[in-house]
Amino acid sequence: MAVALVLVLIVVGSVLFHLLSPWWWTPIASNWGYIDNTIIITFWITGVVFSAVVLFMAYCVFRFRHREGSRAAYEPENKRLESSLTIITAVGVTALLVPGLFVWSRFVNVPSDATDVEVVGQQWQWSFRLPGKDGKLGISDTRDVSAENPLGVIASDPNGQDDVVVEAADLHLPVGKPVKMRLRSIDVLHDFYVPEFRAKMDMIPGSVTYFWFTPTRTGTFQVLCAELCGQGHPLMHGVVMVDTQQDYLAWLGQQQTFAQLSAPQQTGSADQAPGTMASGLKTAARLETVGSR
């Protein structure tokens, strides 16, 4: 009796928790509302199945609990029941899978008007690179990474000279324009993750991965790393600001290109701020404060 009651309470409690609790996803800021819709469909189907199974169980426990002299029925199998349940399940699974695969095919096919934005992860900070006037990103190689060239842009590639390099600072994106995030890492696995954009993808040293999205509202969003990347992992935060076109261009105008950044090197000033080292040490120092807290 108590068991049946608890089972019912579990269903009721879970449903109420789902409906009433304050813990829900962050307001979306990209075009991936499709994903949210797919989650909603999944919640409905799975919620119905969960409630049905557990409530049925509660009923059985209540109705067929042991009493003096009672004896179980003898029924080894029931082919019709089993096959109809199989078919219903198959239908339910299809209803989950089909919309999911449709949205996935959108997710992996980047629209042709998307602009490239490169994200480079390293322990434990984010850097960015935007194509210059030619609209193309220059090629890069981890072997070319140095204090003066933190992203490892290959200097001999003319496409790379006018690339805008944003080292360990905020990324700005124009609202309403699709972007293809080209993801690179120069040390370990990272994952560029902005909860409000819904999309994420791992970054793998030695290869370039990607995802695309269109920012749909302006604002400031926090970037998190979603793939364990060493002890600084929880501190690897960054900022993406989605601007209006005007603000975006204003910001872009203030940024330095790869050619400008590597210019001082030619004049021989070796004391140029050792970017990579410094920022890595910055997080390391933060870690120490966490450790000694």
Binding site: V3, V6, S14, F17, S21, W23, W24, W25, I35, T38, I39, T42, F50, V53, V54, F56, V61, F64, R65, H66, R71, A72, A73, Y74, E75, E77, T86, L97, G100, L101, V103, W104, Q122, Q123, T142, V145, S146, I186, D187, V188, Y193, P195, R198, A199, K200, M201, M203, I204, P205, G206, A226, E227, Q231, H233, P234, L235, H237, T276, L287, R293
Partner: protein
């Protein structure tokens, strides 16, 4: 290969080539024993011991997550070491070892009607190699630099780099060595479980008369034998990367401004190998649980398991399918995106046989005679948590839904519910069920009920709300959840609540351990067959079963394992070794 001899001509399933080993001294009887039952208890005790370490580690992690900044000694470094060791111990050294090494060793020979495993000496070695693996693992706590903090998935490159605790110290080396040892030890044991089911069955025990427990353990062992080599390969290659500087998994890397020597390796290759093992591993834990829970439900509802054939097919089907779904752990790993279509489809297909199993458990209850004993309670709790965890698997298996949810607390909640809580509940149910056979005494009922309610409800309260933290976008494997815009005040409160529940549930396990020890001497006398069950392990002449299990003659099996409440029979159960025909609807044999 099948030798068609008349059934009557098949010799009784004595161990033909190797005579049954007889211990000569205390040492060979209790320590270096070749008796599967003793080995089972050794396996279980070791697994429980190391499992307790993992439980304490989970408390330490929850302290940090629930009350950030309160406990100075839990640095991010320590947190990652706790999380890694907790995960690896729970999945491999506790669950795999307990289900296959513990329950497999104890139940397979008894249930198939054999005197022992077919290769008892190898079986003994299996345990000692396992113990060595555990010791190597534990030693990493005392090694310079401490254990590895790479996460239980041990993804390179970070696993062997200096930014990860233990990456450039002994931690990762000891972890990889321990895994290699575990796999060697497991292979020895696994050969025994498989070949004993193939060759050790007594007269009349056809495959279709086996209890589902044996089917579950048998299929899981076959899968483990084929899946663990992938982990072995990955471990050997990573060990070479770390120790000898090869570049299997290590591409060109610029670490903190310095170029490493490695070049040309592929981190994704490791993930493929790891998950090629890792996904079947989920079912290696789940299938024995499926099997055991089927038997618990059937016995305590006094009704045959509904749709036995379907259950067997589902076990075999799930086992086979689970080898072609591994990359659903890698949807956002940066592998070729078109793989997503294939793996999402296979993953959701596997939901169908799994759902059939759930229906059949519930339909076994329908029109049953449900005795709400403690094993039955745990079985019911298993169904609730397994259905919950299985359904959230449909979120994560559906490739595009996985994109926002992967690497968040949703994943943590999902896999704890489905392969942590659910199988552990089965372990508890199974212990309450078979403890009387192993010791001759019942576990204390009051303590048992207390243990059940706190564990079941507590675990549900821990992991059900955790899904919603994941839905908010809170990432997993964060040593601290501060400075995050998505992290609300209420979410911090929820985390504190989860931590407190974790302590309460952990405390209930201490009560359980006390019960286990106390009842050995003080429990109620059980008798040979306290649950009035049909399977062979309850029909042994002695309880606990003596060496050789079945006395002078092996039992002969006349019927399947589920003859409960057969119309026309006097009792509501007919043991498998009882001759005679019962029931109105039976065709002539």
């Amino acid at each position: 290969m099948v030798d068609i001899t008349p059934a009557d001509g098949i010799p009784p399933a004595e161990i033909a080539e190797v005579e049954l080993y007889h211990p000569h001294s205390w040492w060979t009887k209790y320590v270096f024993s070749q008796d599967a039952k003793v080995i089972a208890i050794q396996y279980s005790a070791t697994a429980t011991g190391i499992g307790l370490v993992a439980l304490v580690l989970s408390w330490l992690m929850r302290l940090q997550l629930g009350f950030p900044g309160t406990f100075d000694f839990i640095t991010p470094e320590a947190y990652y070491q706790f999380i890694t060791m907790h995960g690896m111990i729970m999945v491999i050294y506790l669950l795999t070892a307990l289900f296959l090494g513990g329950f497999g060793n104890y139940l397979i020979p008894l249930m198939v009607g054999a005197r022992d495993m077919v290769f008892p000496y190898v079986n003994m070695l299996s345990y000692w190699v396992y113990l060595l693996a555990v010791l190597v693992l534990v030693s990493s706590f005392f090694a310079p630099g401490g254990p590895t903090g790479a996460g239980w998935t041990l993804y390179p490159p970070q696993a062997i780099m200096s930014g990860t605790p233990g990456g450039q110290d002994w931690g990762i080396i000891l972890m990889l060595s321990s895994l290699i040892l575990f796999i060697i030890g497991f292979t020895m044991g696994g050969l025994n479980y498989v070949v004993t089911v193939l060759q050790g069955r007594t007269r009349g025990m056809t495959m279709m008369r086996l209890p589902l427990t044996v089917w579950g353990i048998f299929t899981a062992t076959v899968m483990a034998l084929l899946a663990f080599p992938a982990l072995f390969v990955a471990c050997v290659m990573m060990l070479l990367d770390r120790v000898l500087g090869t570049s299997f998994f290590m591409p060109a890397i610029s670490e903190m401004g310095a170029q490493l020597q490695h070049n040309g390796g592929s981190p994704i290759l490791f993930q493929h190998l790891f998950w090629f093992f890792g996904h079947p591993e989920v079912y290696i834990v789940a299938l024995p649980a499926f099997g055991i829970v089927s038997d618990l439900i059937s016995t305590h509802a006094r009704k045959n398991i509904f749709g036995y054939r379907m259950m067997v097919w589902a076990i075999v089907g799930i086992g086979a399918l689970s080898f072609v779904v591994w990359a659903h752990h890698m949807y956002v790993s940066g592998m070729h995106p078109y793989f997503g279509f294939f793996f999402a489809t296979t993953t959701l297909i596997i939901a169908i046989p799994t759902a059939i199993k759930v229906y059949n458990w519930v339909l076994t209850l329908w029109r049953g005679d449900i005795h709400l004993t403690i094993p039955m309670l745990f079985a019911l709790a298993f169904i609730v948590t397994f259905v919950n965890g299985g359904l959230t698997g449909l979120f994560l298996g559906n490739v595009v839904v996985d994109v926002p949810l992967s690497d968040t607390m949703f994943v943590v909640a999902h896999f704890h519910m489905v392969m942590g809580v659910a199988p552990i509940l089965v372990v508890f149910g199974a212990i309450y069920h078979w403890y009387p056979k192993a010791t001759g005494r019942m576990l204390n009922e009051t303590l048992g009920r207390f243990h059940f309610w706190v564990t079941f409800l507590g675990a549900y309260l821990i992991f059900f709300p955790m899904h919603y933290l994941g839905l908010m976008g809170i990432p997993r494997r964060y040593a601290e959840l501060t400075d995050m815009t998505i992290m609300t005040e209420s979410a911090h409160h929820l985390n504190s609540f989860i931590s407190i529940m974790a302590f309460i549930v952990g405390f209930a396990q201490m009560v359980f351990l006390f019960n286990l020890i106390w009842s050995i001497r003080h429990g109620r006398e059980a008798g040979g067959n306290p649950w009035r069950a049909t399977t062979l392990e309850w029909q042994t002449p002695q309880t606990p079963p003596a060496h050789g299990n079945f006395g002078k003659d092996l039992p002969i099996v006349y019927r399947w394992a589920y003859d409960y409440s057969v119309p026309g029979a006097k009792e509501d159960f007919i043991p498998q070794n009882m001759p005679g025909s019962f029931g109105p609807s039976r065709e002539p044999a």
